[in-house]
């Protein structure tokens, strides 16, 4: 009797709870107003917000959000509908596991239609998730995205290489040679973690371009570069251009001064997060002339950028600088990443006439010409990558003078076969 009573009470309570829940859902659904404003396209940004790579991941966030706010004032149109972007950022910890987790969260929990702005070194795991879900991934090339690498256009048909790292490095070296035509040899520096077919591919490109270079590899976490600087000196190098992190070239810049090689030029293939870091770590004198990539499109001399995007980028810089108390701009790397990716994505959706069909959008991307924050480029790389999904970019170099970055030289990227 008691047991029957207990079961009855339990069933009644469960029914009440279930009904309440169903009612609440229904009310919520009913309460949703009809959408009259722009349609929102969610874009996921898996990026390093923790760990040693976090400074680069964090550097662009304010700029990206400001860019999207600006972009959304007009948005993009398909038919009579206007579309806006909403950016969702998740920390991928710059690890394979973190990348996969971030991609899954962005796609399956947050409902992102595309992943963009991706630059961390976990392409295989991120692309495995995004391609399986038929979600476009706008990313950089790395060791994996060369002939013989992990990238396969058949199994990864939704990947777009909007930042071609290898071709960028070659363009950077050509810009350096343009700036220093009497150079003796470029010393290439990278951790041995980066050794692989990617660097082999770059070496072949440098050989084909007739650039003299000497490669040194160091174990990760090396802080004493005396042996490597000695080897560069013995090889006759006078420009050291690193392909990896920022700590190692900063230390090379500092230690080469201490070893008496004051006339060398030292830099890295990446934009400056903040010149103040280099001044603090290298020392003022050693930091002078430090080289880095420069995406300041209003200062490009050889690459033509749509004035509309130049104005937008300048406005974003102002918005972020005002937010930070009026500090003058120091980070320009953001210009060549997410904004460029979103412009390619939005223009491709406009061409394809759809936001929901990833195959149609990719068809519009392959071999298409797009206008971005770093110029107008045609997707290429059909022979090199197996699919024309590689976007171009200028190789533009700046150097630290005083406490600021100053334009040095530029070399437009040649189309990739």
């Amino acid at each position: 009797m008691k047991r029957q009573y207990g079961i009855t009470v339990f069933l009644i309570v469960t029914a009440i709870l279930f009904s309440t829940f169903a009612l609440a859902c229904g009310e919520q659904k009913a309460a949703q107003p009809q959408q009259t404003g722009p349609v929102v396209i969610k874009v996921g940004l898996p990026t390093a917000l923790s760990g040693p790579a976090a400074p680069w991941g964090q550097a662009g966030i304010d700029y990206y959000n400001a860019w999207i706010d600006l972009f959304n004032k007009e948005g993009f149109k398909i038919g009579d509908k206007t579309y806006n972007f909403q950016l969702i950022t998740v920390d991928d910890e710059s690890t394979p596991e973190g990348g996969a987790a971030a991609a899954k969260q962005l796609i399956y929990s947050d409902g992102c239609k595309a992943l963009a702005g991706h630059w961390t070194w976990n392409y295989p795991t991120v692309s495995a998730v995004s391609n399986a879900a038929k979600v476009l991934l706008f990313t950089r090339t790395g060791n994996e995205a060369v002939p013989g690498g992990v990238y396969d256009p058949k199994t990864q048909p939704y990947t777009v290489f909007a930042n071609p790292s290898h071709q960028q490095y070659l363009s950077d070296c050509l810009a350096l040679v343009k700036a220093y035509p009497n150079y003796k040899r470029i010393g290439i520096l990278d951790s041995n973690l980066g050794k692989g077919i990617g660097w082999d591919y770059i070496d072949q490109s440098l050989d084909a371009a007739g650039i003299r270079y000497h490669h040194e590899w160091f174990p990760p976490a090396t802080v004493d570069f005396t042996p490597y600087i000695t080897k560069y000196a013995e090889a006759g190098c006078d420009i050291i251009y690193s392909g990896g992190d920022i700590t190692s070239p900063m230390l090379v810049a500092k230690q080469r001064m201490e070893m008496g090689y004051k006339d060398w030029h030292v830099g890295h293939a990446g934009p400056f997060v903040d010149p103040a870091i280099y001044l603090a770590v290298c020392g003022y004198e050693a930091a002078q002339g430090f080289l880095g990539q420069y995406w300041c499109n209003w200062e490009f001399k050889d690459t033509k950028v749509n004035p509309k995007y130049i104005t937008m980028c300048q406005e974003v810089e102002k918005m972020v600088n005002d937010k930070r108390g009026g500090k003058s701009y120091v980070y320009t790397g953001w210009i060549g990443w997410l904004p460029s990716h979103l412009l390619i994505y939005s223009q491709a959706m406009e061409k394809a006439g759809t936001v929901d069909d990833p195959d149609a959008i990719m068809k519009a991307i392959r071999g298409g010409t797009f206008d971005s924050t770093t110029g107008k480029w045609t997707m290429s790389g059909a022979k090199t990558y197996g699919s024309p999904v590689v976007f171009g970019c200028p190789g533009c170099i700046c150097q630290i003078q005083g406490e600021k970055e100053v334009y040095l030289s530029e070399s437009a990227m040649a189309p990739i076969p």
């Binding site: 400074p55 160091f218 700590t247 230390l251």
Partner: protein
Amino acid sequence: MPPPGIWIDGLVQSSIYITMAFGMVLVFSILGILNWTHGQYYMLGAIAVYYGVTAMGIPFPFSMILSGVIIAGLGVVVKKALIDRVSGDLYVGALTLALIFFFEGAASMLFGLQDKGLTQVLPGVLEVGAISISYQKLAVVIFTLVVMIAMYLVLNRTKIGLAIRAASQEPNAASLYGIRVDRVSLVVMGIGCALAAWAGCIMAPVYPVNPFIGRIPMIFSLLAIVIGGLGSLTGAIVGGIILGFLNSVIAYYISYYSEVVLFVLVVLILLVRPQGLFGASLK
């Protein structure tokens, strides 16, 4: 034959490994534990001196002394509040391993992840013929010599040094002679952590400061004491010298494989002499 710059570089590398290893051996000889957090005291010392110089304007030498004292105090607190409450080498090891991540995480939150530098301390280069050495690196070598002389005097010419040596050799007998072994162990922990912190302080103007700089010095100081012989102070010095010079010379000849070769050499040394160069023979 490597050029002179490589040998000087080896001397600088050796200096820092010696200072770190010495502190580690001191702690091991009294407490019988390998303090895995030793590298984090190095990192905390570097961060403390960075803030002392840049935020508080305290001259570098005084900041360094202060940092050592503060980190020594921290080490004592960790010993008293945590290590002493855990019994068993395995559990103490696990505790100090966990503390590595705690200190790194805390430093990341408070200090940030970006590299910071103290290049304004001891700028300039000493040039002697074809050889150049920065004043910062010269200070590292001089500092290590001073520390070794000071430690020799403390351990051999003072009462506390006598107590430390007695407690490390025969703790039970030492306590019978009225030596407070528990207090001595706290003093030793403080000295060991201070040595690690001062190593971090003296290196702060040489290399960038960030929350992760303690890991490699920890590994190399552990290798130095293993090569030299666990529990041997002389061994820590010799192990540090061997490791520092090997690291520099091997990197010069085989940059890409330098770590692999270095660790293979360490393994070979241990295969020939498992107790280390100055350790007692294993029975």
